[in-house]
């Protein structure tokens, strides 16, 4: 008996094709656990009783008609960013440069508003803004893609560096265009003439980004799943060797996809500058270029389900800022809660894809 090899207490087995119901159930449990932990953390830091924590979270996100609109608007911006990043990630191209691409787009839009504002009619200015910001975002996506396709340069770092280059560029132009001189900020652009402000649809300023987000999300879903381009992206993502073998020009696909990804991020910059803030600052993207990566990844890069994950993140974000404002705490509180939720969602993937098998009883009896 002694020569029997000791069997470990448990071992891990991969599940093949876990059913969707199970995946949903595991994620739901993870989110509930994360919410409970967030509640406990909030109770500890603020002394609020747990029921009130959730109440404040909800009030912060959906408390009034205006809050609901702002939440919807933020959801659509985050959703757009996640959708914009999706084609790159499907190709396993780690585009963490969303931030820079948004800034580049926003800067181009602001440049059109400031430099062309009193020279061209409003409609032409807006046209220039659209073209300019799409092109700027695409350029910011093109540079890392070109290096990647040509010399296999690490894209995670090159896109990251492009972020900082864009940030400094915005900082430079902020000082060039600052109003009044020495204030260090641009302020609302064309406040009196409203030239270059994106039009309000149906009398509400919140509708345009929401509409754009819905349209782009659906188009992206169709593009990725029913078009040849989308298929090529998936093949390159699964295996570059296979792609090359079947005659897909990998470099061309990488550059094309990043042009698309960057241009869509530039579009977000346009919406932020032309439609929402009417000004440009270095923090206009507010880290959402990174959050977008997580939102997209959580949904396995399926644009349609990203609606829910961006809603979850924005809900926590708005709720947490409500709590931190009413207690005079720092706004970064939202990041902590978002982080907790993300850790749980990331961790729960394990229980969807793997199962833990304990040592069988019979083996014990033999001993």
């Amino acid at each position: 008996m002694n020569d029997k090899i000791k069997e470990p207490l448990f071992h891990i087995v991969k599940r093949d094709a876990p059913p969707i119901s199970r995946a949903l159930a595991v994620r739901a449990v993870a989110i509930i656990l994360a919410m409970i932990l967030c509640g406990i953390v909030t109770t500890v830091t603020t002394g609020l009783d747990p029921i009130q924590v959730y109440e404040s979270l909800f009030v912060g996100a959906f408390g009034s008609r205006r809050k609901i609109w702002i939440t919807m608007q933020n959801v659509s911006i985050l959703l757009l960013i996640a959708v914009a990043l999706t084609p790159a990630f499907r190709m396993r191209f780690w585009n963490v440069g969303g931030e820079g691409q948004i800034l580049a787009g926003g800067l181009a839009a602001a440049a059109c508003m400031i430099c062309l504002g009193d020279k061209l009619p409003n409609a032409l200015v807006i046209l220039c803004m659209v073209v300019g910001s799409l092109a700027a975002g695409a350029l910011w996506g093109f540079i890392p893609a070109f290096f990647k396709s040509r010399w296999n340069t690490n894209e995670t770092l090159s896109t990251l560096m492009m972020n900082y280059i864009a940030t400094q560029l915005v900082a430079f132009f902020t000082i060039v265009w600052e109003v009044p001189k020495g204030s260090g900020k641009i302020g609302i652009i064309n406040q009196d003439s409203n030239v270059g402000w994106l039009p309000q649809l149906f009398g509400s300023r919140y509708i345009l980004p929401i509409l754009v987000a819905v349209v782009i999300t659906i188009l992206m879903y169709v593009y990725l799943n029913y078009f040849k381009h989308g298929y090529e992206i998936s093949v390159v993502g699964e295996s570059e060797k296979t792609a090359r073998y079947v005659g897909i020009k990998v470099g061309k696909v990488i550059v094309r996809t990043m042009l698309l990804s960057g241009a869509l991020c530039g579009l977000v910059g346009l919406l932020l500058v032309g439609g929402i803030n009417h000004t440009v600052t270095t923090t206009i993207a507010d880290g959402q270029g990174f959050t977008g990566v997580l939102v997209a990844w959580m949904c396995k890069f399926n644009p349609l389900t990203m609606v829910f994950s961006s809603l979850l993140i924005i809900f926590m974000n708005r709720g947490a800022s409500e709590i931190s404002t009413s207690f005079g705490l720092n706004q970064s509180y939202a990041d902590i809660l978002t982080g907790i939720i993300l850790f749980f969602i990331i961790g729960c993937e394990f229980f969807i894809n793997y199962k833990v098998q304990f040592r069988k009883k019979s083996a014990k009896e033999v001993q």
């Binding site: 991969k14 770092l157 430079f172 000082i175 959050t291 793997y354």
Partner: protein, 333 residues
């Protein structure tokens, strides 16, 4: 010229130290095949944990003159190590045990860590109902930034080599030690084996998970010290939100820059420290202050250029660990 160098080089070194800590930590982590993009978050957590520790210690002492030097240094140091260790454990648990995607976990850790740092940095005073206006641990900082004795007497030699706080020398020592361990010891060999090909390493009986856990946690603790150095020595104990900035990301970029060699990391971080403050030395004239913002791009552009050049050269010796970024699952060969 000499006087310029004796002022510029020490300032570059001081800027480079947080990068060096982060870079050494990330090299050790990456050698085990874990790509930890959470380093920026870890450095924030390390810094704020040290700050919290010494904040409470300074509060508990009635008068600054009664502070014991040993406790004033050890309390923030241990708090910082503990905080970064917890972050390392979290990362390892998610990526090694639960086999989650490393990039995603890293990004989430950065979000969490930076938020954690800024939250407690901004709200600590309110949370403990203290009456001080801001976190300024100047007394603790004095112990951290104390120069070596006889630095004043040795002229330029003293300025260049002896005019730093003890953590500067600690960072260089850690980098040298890391280089030695990775290159010349059995542990280092095993670690590199795990990073190159965990399946082979497993087959010869090396415990892959144990090495990955250990390397990630040690790497995080070293990186966390970089955050502590920044607050306690460079910023003279004053915490201001987001002041640490993007140094964590630059540290990760340095790892590629130095092709995974800690000794090169020492020089590269000082070089980057220099690039980081170079804009202060380029004359702009009073009416063109905006050019400064352009000059601040220099370190990022240099990083990008170096990245491209290393990828064009594509030398066999300069490749990342083969399994970098992939999680290991024994039954999946």
């Amino acid at each position: 010229m000499l006087s310029f160098l004796t002022t510029f080089i020490p300032r570059a070194v001081v800027q480079g130290i947080p990068l060096l800590f982060g870079c050494t930590g990330e090299i050790i982590t990456e050698k085990s095949g874990n790509l930890n993009l959470g380093i920026p978050g870890v450095m924030y957590v390390g810094a704020i944990c040290g700050v919290i520790g010494s904040f409470f210690y300074e509060r508990s002492v009635p008068d600054p003159s009664m502070m014991s030097p040993v406790l004033a240094i050890m309390i923030p140091l241990l708090c910082c190590l503990l905080g970064s260790l917890l972050m390392g454990l979290l990362y390892s648990f998610l990526t090694v045990t639960l086999k989650a995607n490393q990039n995603v976990v890293g990004l989430a850790m950065t979000t969490f860590g930076v938020g954690f740092g800024n939250f407690f940095g901004g709200s600590l005073i309110k949370l403990v109902d203290s009456d001080v206006p801001s976190i300024a641990l100047t007394n603790t900082s004095a112990y951290f930034s104390r120069k070596l004795p006889f630095a004043e007497d040795l002229g330029w030699f003293g300025d260049l080599f002896l005019s730093y706080g003890f953590m500067t020398y600690l960072s260089v020592a850690i980098a040298l030690l890391a280089a030695y361990v990775l290159r010349h010891t059995r542990v280092g060999l095993h670690l590199r084996a795990v990073g190159e090909n965990p399946y082979t390493a497993d087959a010869v009986g090396i415990s892959v998970s144990r090495y990955k856990y250990a390397a990630t946690c040690i790497g995080c603790m070293i990186a966390g010290l970089g955050g502590l150095y920044y607050v306690m020595d460079y910023a003279t104990g004053v915490w201001s939100n987001n002041a640490f900035g993007d140094r964590g990301w630059l540290a990760i970029a340095l790892v590629i820059f130095t092709v995974w060699r800690p000794v090169l990391g020492i020089f590269a971080s000082f070089l980057f420290g220099g690039l980081y403050i170079l804009y202060l030395y380029i004359p702009t004239g009073m009416d063109h202050m905006e050019l400064r913002e352009l000059y601040k791009m220099i370190p990022y552009i240099v990083t990008l250029v170096v990245l491209v050049i290393t990828s064009i050269r594509n030398k066999k010796d300069d490749q990342p660990p083969e399994s970098l970024g992939q999680s290991y699952f024994r039954e999946e060969r």
